[in-house]
Amino acid sequence: MLSRIKAFIKYIRDNKFDRSLMKYFDWPLLINVLAISLFGVVCIFSATSSQVTETPANVIEMLETQSVLYPRLQLLWIGAGMVAMAAVIFFPYQLYERYANVFYAGNIVLLSLTLLIAQAGRGGMTAFFNWGSDRGFQPSEVGKIAIIIALAKAFCVRTKPIMTMHDIIPLAIYIGIPLVLIVAQPDVGTALVYLAVFCVMVFVSGTNSKLIWGVIGMMVLLLIPLWYFMNNSASGNFRFTRILMWLDPESYPDEARQIINGQIAIGSGGIWGKGIVSPGSFASLGYISDDHTDFIFAIVCESFGLVGGMALIFAYMLLVARLIILAMRTKDPYGSYLIVGVLAMFLFHIVENICMVIGLLPVTGIPLPFVSYGGSNMLTNMMGIGLVMNVVMRSRQHEQAQRVDNDKTIQLKRD
C-alpha cells in the first residue's frame, strides 16, 4: 500500500504540469463553453426575475430592481468550475487511466453513502447531500466524470470490438452496479446519462450491428413487463403518467402544467422573443416550475425567441462537432474514449433536455449543460471539458514531441 502511494507521488513529480502545455490549449472549445455559460447566466436572470409592470429602461435599472441572487451564484459556479477544470487539467490524464478503478470504487462508495445518509429531498429523491437550507451537493453528478474515466479505461483496453453477448455481460455488470444505486435513489435521469455514456462507447467501439439490433430487440421485450409494472404499481405510476403526458399533455392540464406552460412560453416568444424582464412573460410570472434549472430552454426561447433558441442549439452543435473532431484526431485510445464519454454525457443532456421542453421526449429531470442553474452540474460539466482539454493538450504535445523525434530521426538519417 505504502509503495503504491510512493509510486503515485513519484508519478506526480515526474509528470508535473509543464507550462509549455498551454501552447496546445484548445481555445475555441473554452470560448464556446464560456459563451454558452454566460448566455445561461442571462437566461437565469430572466427566469428568476420578478413581476414588472413595464420593461426597465436600461440594464442598470434592471439590475437594481431585480434579484440577482441566482445569476451571481451561477457566475460563482462558473468560476469554481474553471478552477475545477484547471485542477483536472493539472494532472496528466494517464494518471486517471491508471487509477480508473479507484475512481469507480470511490463513486460506488459515495453513491452508497448518499443512499444511507442523505435525507429525502425534493420529489422523494435522496440525491443530495444537504448543507444549510436548500443548497446541496449531488454526488451522482460528479460521479458522471468518474464513470467516464472508468468506462474509457474498460473500453480502451479491449483489443477487439464487442461482438458477442459474452463480451458485453462483464461490461454490463460493471456499469450496472452504479446504475442500480442511482435508480434506487431514485434518480432515473442521471441513470440514463450513465447508460447513454455506456451505449455510445459500445457503439463507437465498433460493435457489430447484430448485437445492436439484438440489444434493441431485448429492450423492446423488456418494455412490455415494464409498461405493465408502471401501469399497476403505485410508485411507477408517476413515471407512466409522464409518458402519457408527453404523448398528450393537454389531457393532463394539472400534471402537465409545466410542459404546457413551457411550450406556451416558447410559442409565445415568437421569432425575436419578449426580451428579458418583460411584463407578462411566463419567466417573470413564475408560471413554469423549475424554469431556472431543467426548463430553462423555455425561458431561452421566450426571452430571445426562435432566434435565441436556434443560436443556442447551434452553439451546442459547434461544441459537439468540436468534441467529435477532437475525439477522432486523438490517437491515444484512452484519450479518445475519454472525449467520447464526455461527448456522450453532453449529448444526452442537450438532446434530452431540449427535446423534453419542446415536447419531443418525455420529461426527465435533466439540466441543460452550462445553461441551467446548478453548482454540481456546472462543476461536472467544467470537469468534463477539463478532461477533454487534458487529453487534447497532452496528446498534442505528445504528437508534437513524436513529430520532433521523427523529424530528428529523419534529420539524423539525412545526416
Binding site: Q51, V52, T53, F155, C156, R158, T159, K160, P161, V200, M201, F203, V204, S205, G206, D254, R257, N261, Q263, I264, A265, I266, G267, S268, G269, G270, I271, P279, G280, F282, L285, G286, Y287, S289, C301, G305, L306, G309, M310, I313, Y316, M317, V320, A321, I324, A327, M328, K331, D332, P333, S336, Y337, V340, L347, V351, I354, C355, I358, G359, L360
Partner: protein
C-alpha cells in the same frame, strides 16, 4: 483500441438528424403555432375578477339613511395547487396561524366553522350541524374526498388532520383545542373550495389595522391577501323596520334564478320590505352594474399587474316618503294605544258586572281551553290624502333591524324573533280584518250618489231592530238606548255610528251596488304600495262568500269549507248506515253541485228540487229515505251558510259580514273621502337616485280611480266625521279628542270577532285639520276592545305631524320685515 472513425461519423450523422429535428420542431412551434400559443399565454396568465359596487342606500324623506353599505375588508387565502408537499402544508399552516393571531389581535375573528365536533366520549366526529341525516352524509363524503380522507376511520380523523397539516408543530404540543379548531377551520374553508381558482375568504370585515399589517407582511404570509367588500348597516334599529326590510344570503332554492341574473353565489339579496321590492334598483349585482378587472397573476394566483379595469357601479339609492321622526312617534303612540287597551281589558276582566254578563261565554272558553285574546298587535298608517303618499307606517310588534348588520344574524336573536308574535309581518299591509263602522262612509257615499237617501233624510233607530231582513232575530243597533239615536240625518248617523241608519241604506242599495262602491273606493284591490306582501282587501257578496270556481279550502272565508265538511260527514254516515258503495268522484261531484246551487239560484225555495235530484239520481239515495229523513231540508240548512242573504247585506253595510280590509287600503279610502273622490295608489317611494346623485325616477301620485259625484255628499260625510270628535255634538270618540290643538275628524270602528266584546278589533280613521286636511291616519289594533281607544294612538301622531308642519312653514316663511329694515 481506439474508437472507430466510421462509427464516429455514423454518430455524427445521427446527431445531425436529431438537431435537424429540434430545429424543425422549434420553428414549427414558433412560426405555425406561435399565435395560438401567444393567445394562450395571455389568457393563462390573466385572471378576470368581477367587481361589485355597493348596495344602494335607503333614505327617509329627509335623507336620513335607513340602510346603507359600509366599505369593509376581508382577508382571503389562496393555496397554490402545485404546492402540496408536506413542507408546503407546514408553511401554510404557519401562515394561517399567523393570520388568526393578527386578526384576533385587532378584535375580529376568522371564519370558524369546523365540521368535526367533539363528542361526550372525547371522539371528534363529523357534524356540520345541518340537522338532516341526508345532508350530513353528502357533506361528509364531500368533506372526506376534499381532504383526501375517504378511507380514514372516524376516530382517526382528528389525529390524521393534525399530523397531515402539522398543526401541533406550529401551535406547540400543548395547544388548546379551540386554537387547533381555528386553524383547521381555515384549512377546511380552503379544501372545500379547492376546485375554485379564486381565493377563499377566511376573515370578514377585519378593519384597517389588520389590512395594513397583512399588506406589509405579504411576503411571508403565503397566499394571504386582502379584498375589498361591503357590509350592510341598519342604523335605525327598530324604526321603520317593516318598511326598510333586510337582506340575507340567497337561499338554495333561489340560487339558480339569481345566478342567471349574474349574481354571485354568496351575494346578499333583499328579503323583505323595500330591500326586496326594489332589489333591482338597490343591488350592485345586476349585470350592467358589475365591474371587471383583468389582472396578470403569478402561479400563486396573486395579482401582479392590472391590465384593464372597468369600475363597478353602485346600486341606486331610494328615497322614501316616510320620515324617521314620525315613524318613531307613531311606533311609540301605537304602543301607548295598545297598552291603554290592555288596561281597559284588564279592568273589564276584573269587573264583576262584566264577568256576570259574560258568564256563559267565559265558561265555554274555559271548557274549550280557549284563551281570551287581548290587544297585542296592530298597525298604523299615515297618508297624505291628496297624493296617496305614505307619511308613516308602523306595525307592532316590531324587530330590531340592527341584528342584520354586516349580514350576520345571531341565531339566538333570530329565533327570538321567530318565536315572537310574528314581528316580521308588516301588519299595515299584510293583515286584513273586518272593518266595522269605519266602512260606513262607503255605505253613505254609495247611498247618496245612488240616490237612495239624501243628506237630510231622517232615519231613526228602532228598538225592535231591522225586521225587514230577519223578522225572527232582527239586527239591532249597538246602543242599548235607541232613544238617543233619533231624528238622525246622515251627519248625526255618522256621529252616533248608528247601525239602524246604515242597515236601512244598505238594504236600499242592495249588495251589488254596495260592493261596487266598496270597489270604487279601492277596498277590493291592492293599493300597489311598493312593498312585498300586500294582502288584497275585499267586500262581501255571494261571490266572495263562495266562489264555485275554487275548491272549498281555497275561499275568502272558512265558511265554504265548514259547509263542505258538514255535508260530506252527513253523507258518509248515511253510506255507512246503508252500506252503500259510492265512489269518491261521485261524492265530490255531488258535493260541488250542491254548493254551486247557492250561486245558481236566487232564492232558497228554488234549491229543493235540484237537491232532491242530486241526492236521488247522482248519489242514489232511495226516494223514501230522502223524504223520510227530511234530507232536503237538512241540506238547505247547510247551504244557507254559504248563501248571501239580505241580512248579510245590511251587515256588510256596517262593515261586518265577511268583508276584510287592510289598514293601508282603508287609508286610501279615507283619503278619497277627504280629497273628494280621488282614489290614489299608496306610494312609499319618493324617488330613486343614481350613485352620481342624479334623479332616476321621481315618483308621481298614481290615480287608481276617480269618483265623480256631488261635492256636498263629501261635505256631509266629513261633517259627520267631525262630529265624532266633537264634545258638544257628543260623538263616539269625543272624550278622547277634547281640548285639541287642531280640529281632528275621525270615525271609530269596533268590529266584532267573537261573542266576547273585549276581543273586538279596534279601528280608527282620522284626518286633520278638519277644514284643510293634511294627514289621514288609520289605526288598527287586533282585539283592541273598542274603536275609540285607538284615539290614544291617532291623536298624538296627528298633533305631532301638524306641529312639525307648522314649524317648517314658520321657518320657511320669508321675513319681509327684516328685508324692509
Amino acid at each position: 483500441m481506439k474508437p472507430y472513425t466510421k462509427r464516429m461519423l455514423i454518430l455524427s450523422g445521427i446527431l445531425l438528424f436529431t438537431f435537424a429535428a429540434m430545429f424543425i420542431r422549434l420553428s414549427f412551434m414558433v412560426r405555425s403555432r406561435g399565435e395560438a400559443y401567444a393567445e394562450r399565454a395571455s389568457t393563462r396568465s390573466t385572471k378576470t375578477i368581477t367587481l361589485y359596487g355597493m348596495r344602494g342606500t335607503i333614505y327617509d324623506n329627509n335623507m336620513v339613511p335607513l340602510a346603507y353599505d359600509r366599505r369593509s375588508f376581508n382577508v382571503t387565502f389562496y393555496r397554490d395547487p402545485l404546492r402540496n408537499s408536506d413542507a408546503d402544508r407546514l408553511a401554510y399552516t404557519k401562515t394561517l396561524a399567523e393570520v388568526i393571531r393578527l386578526v384576533e389581535s385587532n378584535g375580529k375573528s376568522t371564519v370558524n366553522d369546523f365540521w368535526l365536533k367533539k363528542d361526550e366520549d372525547g371522539v371528534w366526529r363529523f357534524d356540520s350541524g345541518s340537522g338532516s341525516a341526508a345532508v350530513e352524509t353528502t357533506r361528509e363524503n364531500q368533506w372526506r374526498s376534499n381532504f383526501y380522507l375517504t378511507r380514514v376511520a372516524e376516530e382517526d380523523l382528528w389525529k390524521t388532520l393534525l399530523q397531515k397539516y402539522r398543526v401541533l408543530e406550529v401551535l406547540g404540543n400543548d395547544a388548546d383545542e379551540e386554537s387547533i379548531v381555528k386553524v383547521l377551520a381555515l384549512w377546511q374553508e380552503s379544501r372545500m373550495n379547492a376546485f375554485k381558482p379564486t381565493p377563499v375568504t377566511i376573515a370578514y370585515d377585519v378593519g384597517y389595522e389588520t389590512v395594513s399589517e397583512i399588506e406589509v407582511r405579504s411576503m411571508d404570509l403565503l397566499g394571504v391577501d386582502v379584498e375589498e367588500s361591503s357590509s350592510r348597516v341598519y342604523p335605525q334599529g327598530e324604526t321603520a323596520c317593516h318598511v326598510t326590510g333586510y337582506t340575507s344570503k340567497i337561499s338554495a332554492s333561489q340560487l339558480e334564478s339569481y345566478q342567471n341574473q349574474g349574481y354571485p353565489n354568496d351575494a346578499y339579496i333583499g328579503s323583505d320590505g323595500i330591500e326586496r321590492s326594489l332589489e333591482d334598483q338597490l343591488s350592485p349585482y345586476i349585470q350592467y352594474r358589475q365591474g371587471i378587472r383583468t389582472v396578470e397573476v403569478d402561479t400563486r394566483g396573486k395579482a401582479v399587474r392590472e391590465l384593464s379595469y372597468t369600475a363597478p357601479q353602485d346600486g341606486n339609492s331610494v328615497v322614501l316618503t316616510i320620515d324617521v321622526d314620525l315613524q318613531n312617534y307613531m311606533a311609540s303612540s301605537l304602543r301607548t294605544a295598545i297598552s291603554a287597551m290592555r288596561e281597559q281589558q284588564d279592568r273589564a276582566l276584573h269587573w264583576g258586572h262584566w264577568l256576570r254578563e259574560n258568564d256563559d261565554i267565559l265558561k265555554q272558553y274555559a271548557e274549550e281551553g280557549r284563551e281570551i285574546q287581548l290587544a297585542q298587535t296592530g298597525a298604523m298608517v299615515a297618508m297624505d290624502p291628496y297624493t296617496g303618499r305614505i307619511l308613516g307606517m308602523v306595525s307592532e310588534p316590531s324587530f330590531d333591524l340592527s341584528m342584520f348588520n354586516d349580514g350576520k344574524v345571531d341565531p339566538t336573536l333570530w329565533n327570538q324573533v321567530l318565536e315572537g308574535n310574528n314581528p316580521l309581518l308588516n301588519r299595515a299591509i299584510g293583515t286584513k280584518d273586518a272593518p266595522g263602522s269605519i266602512f260606513k262612509m262607503v255605505t253613505a257615499l254609495g247611498g247618496l250618489t245612488e240616490g237612495v237617501i239624501t243628506t237630510d233624510e231622517i232615519i231613526n233607530d228602532r228598538a225592535e231592530g231591522f225586521v225587514e231582513t230577519n223578522s225572527e232575530r232582527p239586527a239591532k243597533c249597538w246602543t242599548s238606548h235607541p232613544e238617543q239615536h233619533q231624528n238622525q240625518n246622515l251627519e248625526a248617523a255618522l256621529k252616533n255610528s248608528c247601525n239602524m241608519y246604515f242597515y236601512t241604506v244598505g238594504y236600499r242599495l242592495g249588495i251589488e251596488r254596495l260592493y261596487q262602491w266598496g270597489a270604487a273606493l279601492g277596498l277590493t284591490s291592492k293599493t300597489n304600495i311598493e312593498l312585498p306582501g300586500e294582502a288584497t282587501s275585499f267586500v262581501g257578496n255571494q261571490h266572495m262568500l263562495y266562489d264555485p270556481e275554487n275548491p272549498p279550502n281555497w275561499q275568502n272565508t272558512a265558511k265554504p269549507l265548514l259547509t263542505y265538511n258538514a255535508m260530506k260527514t252527513t253523507l258518509l254516515q248515511i253510506f255507512e248506515e246503508r252500506r252503500m258503495n259510492v265512489s269518491n268522484e261521485v261524492l265530490e261531484k255531488a258535493l260541488s253541485d250542491l254548493m254551486a246551487l247557492t250561486v245558481t239560484y236566487n232564492t232558497k225555495e228554488q234549491w229543493y228540487l235540484p237537491i232532491r235530484e242530486i241526492l236521488q239520481y247522482d248519489i242514489g239515495l232511495p226516494r223514501d229515505y230522502i223524504s223520510g229523513h227530511y234530507m232536503v231540508n237538512t241540506f238547505v240548512t247547510y247551504l244557507a251558510d254559504i248563501y248571501w242573504t239580505p241580512n248579510e247585506t245590511i251587515m256588510c253595510a256596517i262593515g261586518q259580514s265577511i268583508t276584510q280590509v287592510t289598514p293601508v287600503a282603508v287609508a286610501r279610502y279615507v283619503s278619497a273621502i277627504v280629497n273628494g273622490g280621488t282614489v290614489y295608489d299608496a306610494q312609499i317611494v319618493d324617488k330613486i337616485i343614481a350613485p352620481d346623485g342624479s334623479v332616476v325616477l321621481e315618483k308621481q301620485p298614481t290615480v287608481a280611480n276617480q269618483i265623480y259625484t256631488d261635492g256636498s255628499y263629501y261635505a256631509a260625510i266629513r261633517a259627520g266625521m267631525e262630529d265624532v270628535t266633537d264634545e258638544t255634538a257628543g260623538g263616539t270618540a269625543s272624550e278622547y279628542f277634547a281640548n285639541g290643538k287642531y280640529k281632528i275628524a275621525a270615525k271609530t270602528g269596533t268590529s266584532q270577532r267573537t261573542e266576547l266584546d273585549v276581543e273586538n278589533n279596534s279601528w280608527m280613521v282620522a284626518y286633520a285639520p278638519a277644514e284643510d286636511p293634511k294627514i289621514v291616519v288609520v289605526c288598527y289594533v287586533q282585539n283592541g276592545y273598542a274603536g275609540a281607544y285607538s284615539a290614544y294612538g291617532v291623536r298624538p301622531v296627528i298633533e305631532y305631524y301638524l306641529d312639525s308642519l307648522q314649524y317648517s312653514e314658520d321657518v320657511s316663511m320669508p321675513s319681509e320685515f327684516t328685508l324692509a329694515d
